[in-house]
Amino acid sequence: MLELLRDIVRGATGWVELRYQARRTKTIAVRNGRLEESSTIRLTGVGVRALVDGVFGFASTTDLSERGIQGAMMQAQNAARVSSSSKREKIKGLADAAFATGTFPVMTDDPLDDHPLEEKLALVLRIDERIRQGAKKIVSSSASYSEIQDEKIIVTSDGAAAHLFDAKPEFRALAVAQIDGDQAMGMDSVGVTGGFADLFIRRTPEQMADKAVKLAVDLLQAPYPAGEKTTVVLNPGLVGVLSHEAIGHTVEADLVRSGAITSDKIGVKVASNLVTLCDSGPSQYQPHAAGELLVDDEGVKTEKTVIIDHGVLRSYLHNRESAAYFGVKPTGNARAFEYSDEPLIRMRNTYIEPGTASMEEMIAGVKSGYFLEGLGGGGQADSNAEFMFGVREAHRIENGKVGELVRGITISGNAFDVLKSVDAVGSDFTWDLGAGRCGKGQWAKVDAGGPHLRCVVTIGGKQE
C-alpha cells in the first residue's frame, strides 16, 4: 500500500496528502450480569487532502484500487478548485517540518491480540459480578472493555512517508447504589496506548471495581455543599481536565484565529510562575499515555510543546497551515480520527509539569476548602476559557485535614484566573484522562494529567 500511495502521489499535480487507515475495534460491555455488547468493527479506507489555489479539498474512499484512490484524489482537487473563488483568505503555503519516514510499531511487550476474546470477556463478566456483590445497596453494575487498533500509512507530495501502528485499549467500571429511591453513581476508568498489561499498570480491574462501589455507596449519604469561591486541591485527573478542556482548546491555533481569548497573548503572563503547561506527542514522566502520537496525520514527527512556561504563554498548537500563518514550526498536532476525517488541530497528552510540593503539605495549608478528585461527567469550556466541570469525588478540607465527602459538586471559573491562583504544585505525576474521547466535529483519543495542585475555583452548590 505504501508503494501504491507513493506512486499516486508522484503522478499528482500540486500538493496532496494520502492517508490509508485500517482500523479494528472491539467492544465488550456487561451490565448487571448480562452481556449487552460483544462486537467488532473493521473500517478501511483512504482519505485524500489536496491544496489547490489556496484552498483545501478532501475526499475519502473505501475503494483501495489505484483507480479508486485516484478518483478520490480528483474529487478532493475538484472540491478545492471550486471553493477557491469564494475563499477570502487563501492559504499561502504549508510550513516545512521534520517529516516522518519509516515504520513506527506499537510499543508494548504484551500485544492486545495475544489475549483472546474469551479472556477479555471473562474479565468483564468477573468485574461486573464483583461490583454487583460489592455492597448491598448496589442496584446496577457495569464493566466494559474496548480497544482500537490502527494501521496507518501517510504519504505527502512533499516528503512524508510513514507507516504507523497504534493500539489503544480502555476499561471502565461503574456502580449505582440506591436507598429510598435516591441513587448515586460511582465509576472508575482507564485508557492507555499500548498492550493489555499496560492497561492495568496503575490499578488492577479489581481495584477499579471496588473504588466504583465505595464511591457510589458513600455518595448516597453525602450532603450537598453550598456554593462559594474557595481554595481547592485538584488531583492529577482534574489538573488534566483543566489543562485540556479549559486551557488546551483556547490555544489550538484554529480557535485562536477564530477569536479565542489567547489570540494576542503570546509572551504575556497568563498564569502563576509555578505553572508550566505542555502538550506532548510522546508520553512524558509516565509511559503509555492514551493520546500518545509519534507522527501526526500530516506526517509530522511530534514532540513536546511547551504552551505556558513558568506562567508565560509561549506557544499555540499548530498544524502545517497555522504554523505557516504564524511563522513558526508545526507542533505535530494535526490529527484525523478515521480515514474519512480530514486532519484538524487536536491535543495529544496535555499536562502541567510537576513542582516541588507534597500533597500532604498542600492539604495541610488549607484552612477551609475541598480536595477534589476526577471528572464527574461532563466538562465544558468556552473559547474565552470559562469552564465548568463536574467533580467525581469531593471531600471537604477543614483546618488542614481531609474531612467528609460531599456530592453534586461542579467547579467553574476562568481557567487563566484559576492558573494565576495556583500557589502550590505537587512533585507527583499521573496520566488520568485516558478513557473516553475528545470531540471537535470528530473524535480523538487524548490523555491529560499532571501532579496535584492547589488553586482557587468557584464551587457550584445550593443557594438557599
Binding site: 452481556l35 478501511t44 475526499a59 471553493s83 477570502r88 467553574s412 438557599e464
Partner: protein, 455 residues
C-alpha cells in the same frame, strides 16, 4: 467498491451468516454519500466529498448474540463469520430476540430526488450566504465554525424472521428506504477589544432543497453572541430561571430520555420505571415522540430493527404514559417494541428517540418574563445534568438577569444548579413558541426554586 445493490449485499450477508452457523440473524446496511462545506474563522475552510457503505450483522446462536460490522465490502463473509464467533463465545440470554417485521407504511417527504444532483458548488453557495449574512449583521462577529452539508442515504434491513414482504417500502424480503438531509449550523462569537462574548451555535436541517433556510439560525446565533458581549458578574439567589429551547435540551431533555428508556429501567437506573401512569411533571407538560413527524429530522418508516415508527405519547399533562422500547427490552418486560431501536450499521441497536417534542404551551415568552421579580434567562447551559440523580449544575451561557418583569442586563460566569426531577414538578410556564434543536422541538420552560450563584 462493488456495483451490487445494498439490498443484495444484505441478503447475501444474511445467507453467509446462517452458513457460518447462526440460527437467527439480522443484517442492516447503510450507504451514505455526503458533500460538506466547512466554515472556520468567518471563511470557507474545506469542502469534502465522502461515500461509505456499512454493513452490520447480528448473529444469534441459540440465545447467544454477537455483532460485527464493516465498511469493507470485500470482507462481508469475514464479518458474518466474526459475528458468529462472537456469538458462540457469549453467555446466553433468554430474552435475546429479533423482531418479526410486518406492515410498514411508507412515510413521505424524507427523500428529495433533487439531492442526487446537488453539487459542491451549490453547497458552497449556501455556506457563502451564511457568511455574508453574519458579516452584514455586525463586524464584531466571528463565525468560528459553521457548516452546510447534504447527505443522501439509503438503508436496508433483512432478518431471518421469515418473509418481510408486507407494505410498500419492501423489496421482496427486505425493508429499504432512501433519505436526503441538508444540515447547516453556525457558531458565533463576538469580540470587542478585550471583551469576548460567550459562543452560541444554532442548527437546522431540511429533507428537501426547497426547505433549506439558513437565515433564522444565522441571525439567532449572531444575536445571541452579540447579546452576551459586555456581560458582567450576576447575582446570587434562589428563584426563577427561564430556559431557552437550547437550554431545555441541555438540562431536561437528557433526563427525560434516560428515564423513559426501557434499557435503563432494566439496568435498575431509572426511577420512572415504576411510575407509569403517575405524575412526574407539572400538568402543563406534555411530550410526544413521533418517528413519522412530517419534515422531522429523524423521520423514517422503520427503526434500526425494522419495527415501524409511530407517534407516541411519553408524558401527557404531567403523567408518565409509557417507556421507549426496542425488541429486547420489550421482550424482557413483556411488552411490544415501540419502534425506538436506534443506532447505525456500526452498532448494535440501542434505544433512543426519533422526533422528540415538548408540546407548545399558552404563554408568550414576554408573559413568562413579565411576572418574574428576580430571575435569570438562560440561552445555553454548559454543564452537567446527571440523569440518574437528576442533579444539574453548570454555567449559564448567554444569560440575562431578569428584574421586575424585564430583561435587565447580560451576566457572565453565573452557575445554575438544581434537581431536574423537582424542577419538572415545579414547572411554572411553557411558551407557545418552539424551536428545533436537532431532532428536538422545544419551547421555553420556566423553572422555580433554582440555585443561581454569581461567579
Amino acid at each position: 467498491m462493488t456495483d451490487k445493490k445494498l439490498v443484495e449485499l444484505c441478503q447475501e450477508t444474511l445467507e453467509s451468516t446462517q452458513q457460518h452457523g447462526a440460527n437467527e440473524a439480522e443484517v442492516y446496511g447503510e450507504s451514505v454519500r455526503t458533500i460538506t462545506v466547512m466554515i472556520e474563522k468567518s471563511d470557507l475552510q474545506i469542502s469534502r466529498a465522502q461515500q461509505e457503505t456499512t454493513i452490520g450483522v447480528r448473529a444469534l446462536v441459540g440465545k447467544r448474540i454477537g455483532f460485527s460490522s464493516t465498511n469493507d465490502l470485500s470482507a462481508l463473509d469475514e464479518t458474518s463469520r466474526d459475528a458468529v464467533i462472537l456469538s458462540k463465545a457469549s453467555p446466553a440470554d433468554e430474552k435475546n430476540i429479533l423482531p418479526t417485521v410486518a406492515d410498514i407504511r411508507y412515510v413521505d417527504g424524507i427523500y428529495d430526488p433533487k439531492a442526487e444532483s446537488f453539487t459542491i458548488e451549490q453547497a458552497i453557495e449556501y455556506a457563502v450566504q451564511i457568511l455574508d449574512l453574519a458579516r452584514g449583521i455586525d463586524r464584531r462577529l466571528i463565525l468560528g465554525d459553521g457548516m452546510f452539508s447534504v447527505e443522501i442515504s439509503e438503508r436496508a434491513l433483512v432478518n431471518s424472521h421469515g418473509d418481510i414482504s408486507h407494505g410498500d417500502v419492501s423489496h421482496g424480503s427486505v425493508l429499504h428506504e432512501k433519505g436526503s438531509l441538508f444540515n447547516y449550523f453556525a457558531l458565533a462569537t463576538a469580540r470587542d477589544g478585550d471583551k469576548v462574548s460567550n459562543m452560541d451555535y444554532q442548527f437546522d436541517a431540511s429533507h428537501t432543497v426547497a426547505g433549506i433556510d439558513i437565515e433564522p439560525i444565522t441571525r439567532r446565533t449572531c444575536e445571541n453572541a452579540l447579546g452576551s458581549l459586555g456581560a458582567e458578574k450576576g447575582e446570587s439567589f434562589n428563584g426563577t430561571v427561564l430556559l431557552s429551547p437550547n437550554a431545555v435540551q441541555g438540562i431536561l431533555a437528557g433526563l427525560i430520555l434516560f428515564q423513559t428508556n426501557a434499557k435503563n429501567v432494566l439496568r435498575g437506573m431509572s426511577r420512572w420505571g415504576t411510575q407509569i401512569g403517575e405524575p412526574v411533571a407539572a400538568p402543563i407538560l406534555s411530550i410526544v415522540d413521533d418517528g413519522r413527524l412530517p419534515a422531522g429530522l429523524a423521520t423514517a418508516s422503520f427503526d434500526r430493527e425494522g419495527v415501524a415508527h409511530r407517534r407516541f405519547d411519553l408524558i401527557q399533562e404531567g403523567s408518565l404514559i409509557a417507556l421507549m422500547h426496542n425488541s429486547y427490552s420489550a421482550n424482557a418486560m413483556g411488552k411490544e417494541s415501540t419502534g425506538h431501536a436506534s443506532g447505525s450499521a456500526r452498532s448494535i441497536p440501542g434505544i433512543g428517540p426519533t422526533n422528540f417534542e415538548i408540546l407548545a404551551g399558552e404563554a408568550t415568552k414576554d408573559e413568562l418574563i413579565g411576572d418574574i421579580k428576580q430571575g435569570l434567562l438562560l440561552t445555553r447551559f454548559s454543564g452537567r445534568a446527571d440523569p440518574i440523580s437528576g442533579d444539574f449544575s453548570g454555567v449559564a451561557k448567554g444569560a440575562y438577569l431578569i428584574k421586575n418583569g424585564k430583561l435587565d442586563r447580560p451576566v457572565t460566569g453565573t452557575l445554575v444548579s438544581g434537581n431536574a426531577f423537582q424542577a419538572l414538578k415545579d414547572l411554572s410556564g411553557v411558551s407557545q413558541k418552539r424551536e428545533r434543536v436537532f431532532n428536538f422541538t422545544l419551547p421555553y420552560l420556566r423553572l422555580e426554586k433554582i440555585s443561581v450563584t454569581a461567579g
